[in-house]
């Protein structure tokens, strides 16, 4: 982050050790800018939920500080919590309440005066308006997920935490969810979401943070991360099988498939020269002919897997 003036959330030196001895967070430092969408990626048990819970006040940090909009989450908990909305990972709802009542409850709990218009807008935005009088237990899993989002938005938070918002949600609902997140961003809401789905981070996040074993391995602009760590591969389908890679081509560190019919060249997209033209020239000189070629770019998923493996 280049400027701290537009920062909305600052986590510094945050540690959490559970009574059982498990160290769920290790010296976590994180700065989040106003209005951005940041995706926290990490395998199960990496500490994503603990981090969110610590910021929201559900888990007591062992040490470290967190400020939200300049207020300390412990000293000024009323201020910080009233601007935060939290959508939990589990579908925990008051089964016997109606959708509208549960929203009114959430709004009141967070200290806001009743505002039926706002609740109506939230419910309409989430396509829940026609379900407003339904008992929550009668709704489908996807609808319950929407109710949880609506509850979190009932008090008009400016920082929204979405803990795995699309876990167990079907493809179309997932797309809806992404649209909702984008709309919220347009309204100026800062969004921090955790996910296992790299596709999700790739689709909607501005920045990506990777957590493993309670540590933040990196936080980067998504585009930057993908171009920095992303590799491209050129695959050549050969006309005739090769037994070995000729001496003249050693400098390219090519990979020859077991059947000898495929050559793979890995190159950095950021490099000044990719070396492709030279490679193709040298292939011609060596008398190697190919009938097809294609290039692939590594996805965020590959980057993520590599990072997590390295840190473990």
């Amino acid at each position: 982050m280049d400027s701290s003036s537009d920062s909305i959330l600052t986590v510094s030196g945050l540690n959490k050790t559970y009574p059982g001895g498990l160290q769920a967070l290790k010296d976590v430092n994180l700065e989040i800018a106003k209005g951005e969408i940041i995706a926290l990626l990490g395998p199960n048990g990496a500490g994503k939920t603990t981090l969110i819970s610590a910021i929201c006040g559900i888990v007591k940090p062992t040490s470290g500080t967190v400020t939200v909009a300049g207020h300390d989450i412990q000293r000024d908990f009323r201020k910080t919590r009233s601007i935060i909305g939290l959508v939990p990972q589990e579908l925990t709802t008051d089964s016997f309440e109606s959708v509208l009542n549960t929203l009114a409850f959430s709004r009141g709990l967070f200290g806001r005066a009743p505002d039926p218009q706002h609740l109506e807008k939230v419910l309409k935005d989430l396509s829940l308006w026609d379900k407003k009088d339904n008992m929550i237990m009668t709704l489908s899993g996807g609808m319950k997920r929407r109710v949880l989002i609506a509850k979190a938005l009932a008090h008009e938070p400016t920082v929204l935490f979405l803990d795995e918002p699309t876990a167990g949600v079907d493809v179309s609902l997932r797309k809806d969810m992404w649209n909702i997140v984008r709309e919220l961003k347009e309204q100026g809401v800062t969004i921090i979401l955790t996910t296992h789905y790299i596709e999700e981070a790739e689709e909607i996040a501005d920045r990506v943070g990777v957590i493993n074993n309670g540590e933040i391995i990196l936080v980067e602009e998504k585009q930057h991360l993908m171009s920095k760590l992303g590799k491209k591969q050129l695959t050549l389908e050969l006309c005739d099988a090769l037994a070995t890679i000729p001496e003249a081509l050693q400098q390219y560190e090519l990979n020859l498939a077991a059947d000898g019919l495929q050559l793979t060249y890995t190159f950095n997209t950021q490099g000044e020269r990719t070396g492709i033209t030279a490679l193709l020239d040298d292939l011609k000189l060596a008398g190697i002919e190919f009938r097809d070629l294609n290039t692939t770019q590594s996805s965020l998923e590959d980057i993520f897997v590599t990072l997590v493996q390295q840190s473990s």
């Binding site: 006040g57 919590r81 009233s82 939290l86 925990t92 008051d94 309440e97 409850f105 967070f110 200290g111």
Partner: protein, 253 residues
């Protein structure tokens, strides 16, 4: 002070009562009527007056106390235990609310419900016996303090309990015996001297005695002792709740 939060919790808890109207109102009316039919009419007609009060009338304060205690505890303990059990407690923990606001919402609602129940029992009783309340204000004070303090106790129980068994074991194994042995349905004068002395260690005796004094001006112990006793109990419970929230006991890991 986050008044909206207090109101939200209070309304939410009261809505829970509305959904279980039969269980909350019809059931106590029926049980109270049964008590009067059995103890008041059938057995009571063979029991002489107790200190100048007919047996049916004598048991009214005890009956109210029995219901106040058990329902305050169960209302409040369930109110906080259930969100913990299903996980919805996350919302309360992440909300800008202080311990006092949470307590006012949950305990206030639980106490309101048991006070309403007390009133229902009183009205039901008036169909069976001739009601006489010597000190209505003292009676109301007793009912208020008892409902408040035992709702606090229930709240503590609800936070402490991590399964349904623990939740039901305290009311069943502790409160019910204490109420029955606390002179709800008899005067301790009817007991042998040793048991009279033992009864004095039963806190419920002081509650029943105090409430009965507000009705008929008959008491086993001085009414002031009863009043200060229940007040002290209430403050200790409040202390425990504040401590639990301060340390995050079984709520915030």
């Amino acid at each position: 002070m986050n008044y909206y939060a207090v109101l939200a919790i209070y309304k939410f808890e009261m809505a829970r009562t509305k959904r279980t109207l039969v269980q909350s109102i019809v059931a106590p009316v029926i049980t109270t009527s049964l008590y009067f039919i059995v103890f008041g009419a059938a057995i009571g007609s063979r029991i002489a007056e107790v200190e100048g009060v007919s047996y049916g009338a004598f048991i009214v304060p005890g009956l109210i106390m029995l219901n106040l205690l058990t329902h305050s505890i169960s209302n409040a303990s369930f109110g906080i235990y259930f969100p913990k059990f299903v996980g919805t407690v996350y919302e309360m923990l992440s909300a800008p609310v202080s311990t006092i606001e949470v307590v006012l919402g949950y305990v206030g609602a639980a106490a309101t419900k048991s006070i309403m129940l007390g009133i229902i029992i009183l009205i039901t009783a008036s169909f069976f016996i001739e009601l006489r309340i010597a000190h209505p204000l003292i009676m109301m004070l007793f009912v208020l303090l008892t409902a408040g303090s035992f709702s606090l106790l229930g709240f503590i129980l609800g936070i402490w309990a991590d399964n349904f068994e623990k939740l039901s074991v305290v009311p069943m194994l502790l409160i019910t015996p204490l109420v029955f042995l606390g002179g709800s349905f008899y005067s301790t004068d009817m007991l042998p001297p040793l048991w009279q002395s033992i009864s004095l260690f039963n806190p419920v005796l002081y509650l029943v005695s105090g409430l009965r004094w507000s009705f008929y001006e008959i008491a086993e112990v001085n009414v002031l002792v009863s009043l200060f006793g229940v007040l002290a109990f209430m403050l200790s419970c409040l202390g425990v709740v504040l401590y639990m929230f301060h340390t995050g006991y079984k709520l915030r890991s």
